[in-house]
Symmetry: C2
Subunit: 175 residues, 2 copies
């Protein structure tokens, strides 16, 4: 688990989720200003912060690394808050999925994360890659870059926690 | 447009969306207590309020009414905050869809709304129906009862506003 207070992340054994995000994390806050990820909104527009917490899958990172010819990609290099291991790919989980921790702390999945050049540059720096080595990151990370979420229920998250996925149920009209 | 400060709703020409919902509406607030709609959470657990605003489609209400043998169902009878006309069915819009108003005020669709007995009782009272007349409400309203949403961007909503749907884009991994 990483706390992205500064880039690069520092790994912590435990942290608390409050309704504004991870305490002291740079992405916490009830609101955030619209940026390049929200092209439909004027830059700087205040939006509800749906990107409080970022999650990656160690299996997806392994796939990206392998396709880039790297031995590994450390979740901290991507400034991810939470790395999930053993659940397989997570990036295509539908919006509205709730990820719950044993304490009751829960995250509402608001979006998949898109690979950006900033993440690529961080990785490049950490892994000491050349421009040629980092350039395949974005194409291979599309759809595998993990999720962003916001806090649905407060509580503590601890390294090694078993997690639970609560899937939103469809409710179709009868014909 | 209705303000659900009290049940039954009162119709207003305009209201303001803030990050906690519709000012003075009973459903506003940054958080709400888990209830029967959140069976996975212990009753009373504080949750982020994803149900700040409820929306119905006049076309879907007409379908429900027609199947119940009624001439109409007034959005106010369901204590809906916003009735959308001319967009067709809305209840199956995916979670994560953003509904934007001309002021910039925007709602993030968090869930479809499930028909409940409380709504049925309200309708029954307003339309002066018998038990037999109201009993088909729930089965015909499943999947047509509209949406719940929370405020993504603040601003004013005015009766007659043209609305825009911003759909979340898929981002699939390359094979």
């Amino acid at each position: 688990m990483g706390s992205a207070k500064k880039t690069p992340s520092t790994s912590v054994d435990s942290f608390v989720l409050t309704f504004t995000g991870i305490v002291a994390d740079v992405h916490s806050g009830a609101t955030r200003a619209a940026g390049p990820r929200e092209p439909a909104f004027r830059r700087g527009t205040m939006l509800a912060n749906l990107r409080q917490v970022s999650l990656v899958s160690t299996e997806e990172l392994a796939t990206i690394a392998s396709r880039m010819g790297l031995s590994r990609l450390d979740p901290a290099w991507l400034a991810a808050n939470i790395a999930i291991e053993g659940a397989g790919p997570i990036s295509q989980l539908p919006r509205g999925t709730i990820i719950r921790f044993p304490s009751g702390a829960s995250l509402y999945v608001s979006d998949l994360n898109s690979p950006c050049k900033a993440a690529a540059n961080l990785i490049r720096e950490h892994a000491r890659l050349t421009k040629e080595q980092i350039s395949p990151f974005v194409p291979h990370a599309v759809g595998r870059r993990g999720l962003v979420a916001f806090v649905y229920a407060q509580g503590r998250v601890t390294s090694g926690d078993a997690i639970e996925f609560l899937f939103a149920q469809p409710e179709l009209p009868n014909s």
